[in-house]
């Protein structure tokens, strides 16, 4: 190889090397015992709104303990990546909010403090916590990897005026009714049901509920994926068919991933919405609370053998502490503060969610229709998503497969048992 060729080769290496780039995260874990770094998830209308809501509470904590908490509100689209980077690097915040469905996945990294009996005692005791919420805080048989902070569940939101105009007197209790009502409501540029079709997480949450109702499971008892069983195929097809077959969902919803479905519901473009704690979001979009009704998510009219009476996942936000924290005692006392009766009442009232501790649940702030419906669902018909390490991968793969199926439905391609099964088989093959 001549010198010039060597030069060319080097130049090629350098040019091609421009693709190796990867983000990292800064070392912002608090070194002093008097400070903490906290990543909050986006619960309110905007990141800024969340900061305004949280800051007075953090000031209160500083007054009580002398520990200053620096908060950063992280958008949902970034949160899992940021947590992963923090887990991988051993650097980052001390205390974080996590989506409760990620509990087992993040627990598997070994980066989170496990809440054994002693740690639970340090944050106020196990008995205070709502059992369903605690069940969604880590893998079964292991100490929880997080403590429940806000509890939520899916409900059916419906536009009272649209229902009255169409002569419908009560919200649907079965999917068959929902489809039938939806057809009546889908006229004049308006649609029956709004769906967040391009958001993999939302899709996956519905995949779980529908699968339960059809008697399916996404993982077997050994934690192996069972994506393409006939039950799961029927479940996914039922959900996609609201757009593909019943045509009660605007095809545009196939590209919705930024909560446009909530906006469509708030603006009256769609008459029904399946969402968790939508109330506070609807309020910021100027939809008054008396304009919509809240009802439990429907069931199948005649469930197949093995079908379960589940109409929501146990949704919620958990609080976790990173093992790399240099201020574990401070972090635990912050978790205790955030899960205290007073803070639970203040924060959940603002966000329209439910307290994760029993002692705060009796507050009159949580007796509105929406909160009562959520409460009832959580107690009677909600089930936690599978608490297995691969859960977040399930959300991504199955949620994305559904996104592609919605895209097919929107562009007029047929959605059949075969096409659904093919997508689910593909998704399953990508697990290992």
């Amino acid at each position: 190889m001549s010198r010039r060729h060597l030069g060319i080769f080097t130049a090629a290496v350098l040019a091609a090397a421009s693709l190796t780039a990867c983000g990292g995260s800064g070392d912002d874990s608090a070194a002093s015992p008097k400070t903490l770094t906290y990543w909050a998830s986006n619960q309110g209308a905007s990141l800024e709104a969340d900061k305004t809501i949280l800051q007075p509470e953090l000031d209160k904590f500083e007054k009580q303990t002398g520990i200053k908490v620096t908060v950063e509100v992280v958008p949902w689209s970034d949160l899992l990546n940021r947590l992963l980077a923090a887990a991988a690097s051993g650097k980052g915040p001390d205390v974080v909010n996590i989506g409760n469905t990620w509990s087992a996945s993040l627990q598997a990294t070994g980066a989170l403090v496990e809440f054994d009996d002693a740690a639970l005692q340090a944050v106020g005791g196990k008995d205070r916590i709502v059992p369903a919420a605690l069940a969604a805080a880590g893998a079964p048989g292991k100490p929880p990897a997080a403590v429940p902070l806000y509890s939520m569940a899916y409900s059916l939101y419906y536009n009272k005026k649209s229902f009255a105009d169409a002569g419908i007197t009560a919200p649907p209790t079965t999917w068959e009714q929902l489809a039938e009502y939806g057809k009546k409501l889908s006229t004049g540029g308006k649609w029956g049901l709004a769906i967040e079709g391009a958001n993999p997480s939302e899709n996956a949450h519905h995949a779980f509920t529908f699968s339960q109702q059809y008697g399916g499971e996404w993982f077997d008892s050994a934690g192996k994926p069972t994506f393409d069983t006939p039950q799961n195929v029927s479940a996914i097809k039922r959900y996609i068919d609201f757009m593909a077959a019943d045509k009660i969902t605007n095809p545009s919803n196939a590209e919705y991933a930024q909560n446009q479905s909530v906006s469509d519901f708030a603006n009256g473009k769609a008459a029904m919405l399946l969402w968790q704690s939508a109330g506070s979001n609807l309020k910021t979009q100027n939809m008054p609370a008396d304009a919509y009704g809240v009802a439990p998510v429907p069931f199948l009219a005649s469930p197949p053998a093995g079908g379960k009476k589940v109409n929501s996942m146990v949704a919620g936000i958990n609080m976790a502490v990173f093992k790399h924290t240099k201020n574990k005692d401070g972090a635990l006392s912050f978790v205790k503060f955030m899960t205290s009766d007073e803070e639970q009442t203040i924060l959940n009232k603002t966000y329209g969610s439910l307290p994760a501790v029993k002692t705060a649940a009796s507050d009159p702030a949580f007796s509105a229709t929406e909160q009562k419906t959520i409460q009832e669902t959580l107690v009677t018909t909600a089930a936690p998503l599978p608490q297995v390490p691969d859960e977040s991968t399930f959300e991504t793969l199955v949620g994305t497969a559904m996104k592609e199926l919605f895209a097919d439905a929107a562009s007029g391609k047929p959605v059949t048992e075969e096409s659904v099964k093919a997508k689910l088989t593909d998704a399953q093959q990508k697990m290992r």
């Binding site: 060319i8 130049a11 693709l19 190796t20 992963l84 887990a87 990294t109 390490p389």
Partner: protein, 330 residues
């Protein structure tokens, strides 16, 4: 980065500018050679190691591990599985392998078309703006705007424009002009590829324009005069004077543009929000999804290394071929 290839080309092409500079630039021979050159080089070498070489080596190492969430916190616990990641991701009979291949073809088509159109627009604009006329400076500035805008802001704007129900594109095409009865989707389905291509060309052509405009400044006016005297028309002048004189610029420009578009992550990521539709599933997004979204950094790294090798071969072949041709010409 890739601009390092310009130096030899520029030297060789411009003897007038090159020869006076070459004498004094030659290093002093013999024992007077000091440490200074090495000191001057050191920061560049350190940065090159830190930014390119070490991450690359780490990436190759990662591709040999089963690096999932169970081991991400302490890499030393990740089992060494040799070429298993490569076997799994490059197995064209498996779902993952098929998708990677699909993604590869999409990316190749996307890069070739994007570079082609960007170059075509760039050369057209550069030639049109070569002669001074009133308003030329304004047009130049205007043409460079897409390149000057922050990529995220620009692409988010595009994603708003391309929304089916609320986007400006459909508003103009369907509501104003009535060209279509149905509102087409631009961000999902078959159209998503073309949307991505348009945004990419829109972002990249000003760079081609900038380089080619600079290149045209170096074409001596006498050549055009001589060509005009010989009776050459516009196209003939373009073919026989402009393009040959721009050859060294084009050589580098096309390679750089190709590598940039092939690796482009920002445009599809912002336009489609993390999970691109199959029809526009570029390889960078595909790798991101395979490693970050499914927490499997080993197979993500294996794909990256395979991609690196491919680009290495393409770049080396390109440079070898273009250099050989130039030698033939000389």
């Amino acid at each position: 980065m890739a601009t390092s290839t310009t130096a030899p080309d520029a030297d060789r092409r411009e003897p007038r500018a090159g020869s006076p500079a070459r004498g004094p630039a030659r290093r002093p021979r013999g024992p007077r050679r000091s440490l200074l050159p090495y000191l001057l080089l050191a920061p560049a070498v350190v940065l090159e190691l830190a930014i390119h070489v070490i991450p690359m080596v780490v990436g190759v190492w990662m591709s040999l591990l089963e690096l999932t969430q169970f081991h991400i916190r302490d890499w030393s616990t990740a089992p060494f599985i040799g070429l298993e990641n490569y076997r799994a991701t490059l197995d064209l009979n498996s779902a993952a392998g098929k998708e990677l291949l699909h993604s590869f073809w999409i990316t190749l088509a996307y890069s070739l078309l994007s570079v082609g159109f960007a170059w075509l627009l760039g050369i057209s604009a550069a030639v049109v703006l070569q002669r001074p006329f009133r308003g030329r400076a304004i047009l130049r500035a205007l043409f460079l705007t897409p390149y000057a805008l922050p990529v995220y802001a620009a692409v988010i704007t595009w994603s708003f424009l391309l929304q089916r129900d609320t986007g400006l594109v459909n508003h103009v095409l369907v509501d104003q002009l009535g060209l279509m009865n149905e509102r087409p989707f631009w961000l999902i389905g078959d159209n998503s590829f073309w949307s991505l291509l348009v945004v990419s060309v829109w972002r990249n052509w000003p760079f081609a324009f900038l380089c080619l405009m600079a290149g045209l400044q170096n074409v001596p006016g006498e050549l055009y005069e001589a060509a005009a005297i010989d009776g050459a028309g516009f196209w003939r002048r373009l073919r026989s004077v402009t393009l040959p004189m721009l050859r060294p610029v084009n050589l580098v420009l096309l390679l750089v543009l190709f590598l940039w578009t092939f690796n482009d992550f920002n445009t599809p990521f912002v336009l489609f929000g993390g999970s691109a539709p199959e029809q526009a599933d570029l390889i960078s997004i595909h790798i991101y999804r395979s490693s970050f979204k499914t927490w499997d950094f080993g197979s993500g790294s294996a794909m990256s290394v395979a991609l690196l090798l491919f680009l290495l071969i393409v770049s080396a072949a390109y440079l070898l071929i273009t250099n050989r041709r130039r030698d033939d010409h000389a």
